[in-house]
């Protein structure tokens, strides 16, 4: 593979009826390319959690997936409120999700930990009042 393959998706904020759409599409694309199921599953789970976080916590954002020679890179960038204490946010069980989304099954505070767990590399770059960019890599 010479040129890396790039997929970009705009993720709408606050829309729970189609939330996760970009991740489902990426899964389909990676399937067609012929990636092993376990690699696809890790990318799918990590991207879904990040996509949903942009929907719930940041009023949407942009997801970019780059298929490189040895890894798949997922970048989730939003202009939401930012995360004041990233270390705390990364802890299992920490959540500021509002009640109405908890009723839908979100808000366990497990999204960021899942992203960490299912990827080989993860960096969170966040500034309060400016936004959040999360970069993850899954090696294959």
């Amino acid at each position: 593979m010479s040129e890396p393959l790039v997929f970009t998706f705009k993720v709408d904020g606050g829309d729970f009826t189609s939330a996760g759409q970009a991740s489902v599409q990426v899964k389909k694309n990676l399937n067609q390319i012929g990636f092993p199921p376990e690699v696809i599953r890790r990318v799918s789970i990590a991207m879904y959690e990040g996509e949903i976080n942009m929907v719930i916590h940041a009023d949407g954002g942009v997801a970019t997936i780059k298929v490189d020679e040895n890894c798949i890179e997922i970048v989730l960038a939003d202009k939401g409120p930012g995360i004041a204490d990233v270390e705390k946010a990364m802890q299992e069980g920490f959540s500021t999700a509002p009640d109405e989304v908890r009723g839908l099954g979100f808000g366990a505070g497990m999204g960021l930990p899942n992203m960490k767990r299912y990827t080989d590399e993860m960096t969170v770059d966040s500034t309060v009042g400016v936004g959040t960019t999360i970069t993850m890599k899954v090696n294959y």
């Binding site: 939330a19 991740s23 489902v24 899964k27 199921p37 799918s44 839908l104 979100f106 999204g111």
Partner: protein, 108 residues
């Protein structure tokens, strides 16, 4: 055991079964989506009472073999359509999750 024969043996109501041959190899019970995402294994039957559109993406991305809505929980048409299109099997049961899980464990 395949998803469709599991549904048959347990007398589950089939809401949609676009991938009847999917192999069921375990069970995960839970309603909080990130727990399911993080802990369910590929091929698990996912037992839940959570019945909204987001279960379709979760089931699809986590590669579960089927969603089984227990305790008589129902799904609306929109969910059924999306699940059918996304290749997600959905069954329902009037029994609680525990009993359903025990029955599955005897079969797989």
């Amino acid at each position: 055991m395949t998803a469709n024969s599991l549904a048959e043996k347990l007398k589950l109501e089939v809401v949609c079964c676009p991938c009847p041959e999917k192999e069921v190899s375990g069970v995960y019970i839970g309603d909080l989506l990130s727990w399911v995402m993080g802990r369910a294994k590929e091929g698990d039957a996912w037992l839940t009472i959570m019945s909204n559109i987001n279960i379709v993406a979760v089931a699809s991305l986590a590669d579960t073999a089927a969603v089984i809505l227990t305790e008589g929980v129902t799904v609306d048409e929109k969910i059924t359509e999306t699940a059918a299109a996304k290749g997600v099997n959905i069954f329902t049961s009037n029994k609680p999750s525990y009993e359903t899980a025990v029955e599955i464990s005897e079969l797989i």
